[in-house]
């Protein structure tokens, strides 16, 4: 079974984002970019399935600018077999991404697509579910555990209040939550090897998808800042303050 793992290039999670002065968006110039952390978990899970012999090939696909090649290389260095870069400059919405991924999954005859549950830039949490809808496949979102059985996959999901386990008919879509696994670091020999792995280059047009956004971003602003308040001397004093303002 082939597994498709979409990976997105985003601002590194350790970087403090800055809103542009003209309010048109977030400043991406000269900022460290990395693979979306949830996608890294997806790559790791695909590799573990391959190591268990449940999966034959892992294809990492990224939709983004030329720099997204690095993101694909990260996945290849971890253990993915080959990459596809669907080149696109500028914003692209989850629906258009899902349409491109549908075409790729169909062309590659993937049996499973593992995606991050959300990208840490736009925080949409939509692409996996949309892809499942477009393909007519079942979905196991926010996965904490996967087990591949005969013609189905059991997905234990993080839901409000605990965990829920579902059995999905294959082919299926899985989106990863934080605790599914801890991604490995790529070793130096594997990083070198990854340079030789093939990356095919495509465009949205190759798949007949119009990548133009449908929502209009009017502005992007800083959130309201909170000011730090007073230091108190003791827990007893703290309780008195809280009683004073009537919250306890």
């Amino acid at each position: 079974m082939k597994v498709l793992v979409p990976v997105k290039r985003v601002i590194d999670f350790n970087v403090a984002v800055r809103v542009k002065a003209d309010r048109s968006g977030v400043d991406l110039a000269n900022v460290k970019m990395s693979i979306n952390p949830f996608d890294e978990i997806a790559v790791e899970e695909a590799i573990r399935l391959k190591e268990k012999g449940k999966v034959t090939e892992i294809i990492a696909v990224s939709i983004g600018p030329a720099g997204a090649t690095e993101t694909i290389r990260t996945a290849l260095a971890m253990g993915a077999d080959r990459g596809i870069l669907v080149k696109h400059e500028g914003e692209i919405e989850p629906l258009a991404v899902a349409k491109i991924l549908k075409a790729v999954a169909t062309e590659e005859q993937a049996g499973l697509v593992i995606l991050g549950k959300q990208a840490i830039d736009d925080d949409c949490n939509q692409t996996g579910q949309m892809l499942a809808a477009l393909l007519g496949w079942p979905q196991g979102t926010f996965a904490a555990k996967l087990e591949i059985g005969d013609g189905e996959i059991q997905v234990t999901r993080e839901v409000d209040g605990g965990l829920q386990t579902l059995a999905l008919k294959l082919p299926a879509i899985v989106t990863t939550d934080l605790r599914l696994n801890e991604p490995r670091y790529a070793s130096l020999p594997n990083i070198m090897k990854a340079r030789k792995k093939p990356i095919a280059e495509k465009s949205a047009g190759d798949y007949g998808v119009d990548p133009a956004p449908r929502l209009k971003v009017l502005e992007v602003t800083e959130p309201q800042k909170r000011r730090s308040g007073a230091k108190v001397g003791s827990a007893t004093e703290l309780v008195a303050h809280l009683r004073g303002v009537g919250v306890i």
């Binding site: 579910q129 230091k231 306890i248």
Partner: protein
């Protein structure tokens, strides 16, 4: 046209998240209808009928909706979609799971986790874990929206909506419920609690969380945790407050032994009053706390508990 709100409920009872999503729906379109899909969900339907500002409750009571699986739920919502110009769900695990599936089938974008309705076509939503706020316009197509529940007040429960039973729609039969492991707690839910007391890595062990739990029970508070405390195995993961856990905004948030990583702050910085107890004076949590106490939590918590008792 009209707006449809997908109810969050436990079959027996309605979740407060529904009343908050209704608040957003009223600002977007009218009349507002609420869909209660479940199994033996009369209790939830009766409660939904009291939602103020709602005209009609649609009830689909069938075994196939017992566990809110995305595939049959999306089919049901799609069968109703033509009657509505806006479909909303609270941004709970269920809402986030189901609604994008509906949006894709309708070939429209989804607007995730709105925090404000500026006009019926313009919404504000957080991006980058709340470190920036995006204002988006959605014009010329059906609006599919999830609602961040910590950002909206619930409507009153003094309404009298009509209740209409609707037939179940086809079940694509792609997925099957196997089991669940839900943590039972006498304490309030994190997302609806008025007071939350959360512990971090500073608690050092699972056993030490008892210090927090005792105070929570005195205050009628929910117990939360930082990602570090969850990853260390001190508490189950559904207790996690933060960008990748629950986003909360209670009247009072007490952070104990939590340094205040960006990802945690993103989940609680909209709380009305924030209290931080930490022995490290330089901890970032103090920069957003209304009341800060620099102290060893193992001394401060017993003293806090004692002070409550006087």
């Amino acid at each position: 046209m009209a707006a449809l709100v997908i109810a969050e409920h436990s079959n027996a009872a309605l979740d407060d998240a529904t009343a908050k999503a209704v608040t957003a729906a009223i600002q977007i379109s009218s009349p507002v209808h609420v869909l209660v899909a479940g199994s033996n969900c009369q209790g939830a339907a009766d409660a939904a009928a009291k939602l103020s500002g709602v005209e009609k409750i649609l009830v689909a009571d069938d075994a196939r909706y017992a566990h809110c699986l995305a595939e049959p739920m999306a089919e049901l919502i799609l069968s109703l979609a033509a009657n509505y110009d806006a479909i909303l769900a609270p941004a709970t695990a269920n809402g986030k799971n189901i609604l994008p599936r509906v949006a894709a089938k309708l070939d429209v974008p989804q607007i995730s986790e709105i925090i404000e309705v500026k006009s019926p076509d313009v919404f504000r939503r957080p991006i980058y874990a709340g470190n920036a706020i995006q204002t988006v316009e959605a014009k010329g197509f059906k609006k599919i929206i999830t609602v961040r529940i910590s950002a909206f007040a619930p409507v009153a429960m003094n309404g009298n909506a009509a209740v209409e039973k609707i037939a179940a729609s086809a079940d694509p039969g792609l997925s099957r419920f196997v089991g669940e492991n839900l943590s039972r707690s006498e304490r309030p839910e994190l997302t609806s609690a008025k007071i939350i007391i959360s512990g971090g890595r500073g608690l050092q062990s699972k056993e030490n969380f008892a210090l927090i739990e005792r105070i929570a029970d005195r205050l009628g508070a929910a117990v939360g945790a930082s990602r570090a405390a969850v990853d260390a195995g001190f508490v189950p993961n559904d207790r996690q407050v933060g960008q990748t856990g629950k986003v909360v905004a209670p009247e009072l948030y007490i952070a104990v032994g939590i340094s205040g990583a960006i990802q945690h702050l993103a989940g609680m910085k909209d709380s009305k009053i924030i209290v931080a107890i930490n022995k490290d004076e330089g901890a970032p949590i103090f920069t957003i706390a209304d009341y800060g106490l620099v102290a060893d939590l193992f001394e401060a918590l017993p003293e806090f508990e004692k002070a409550l008792g006087v």
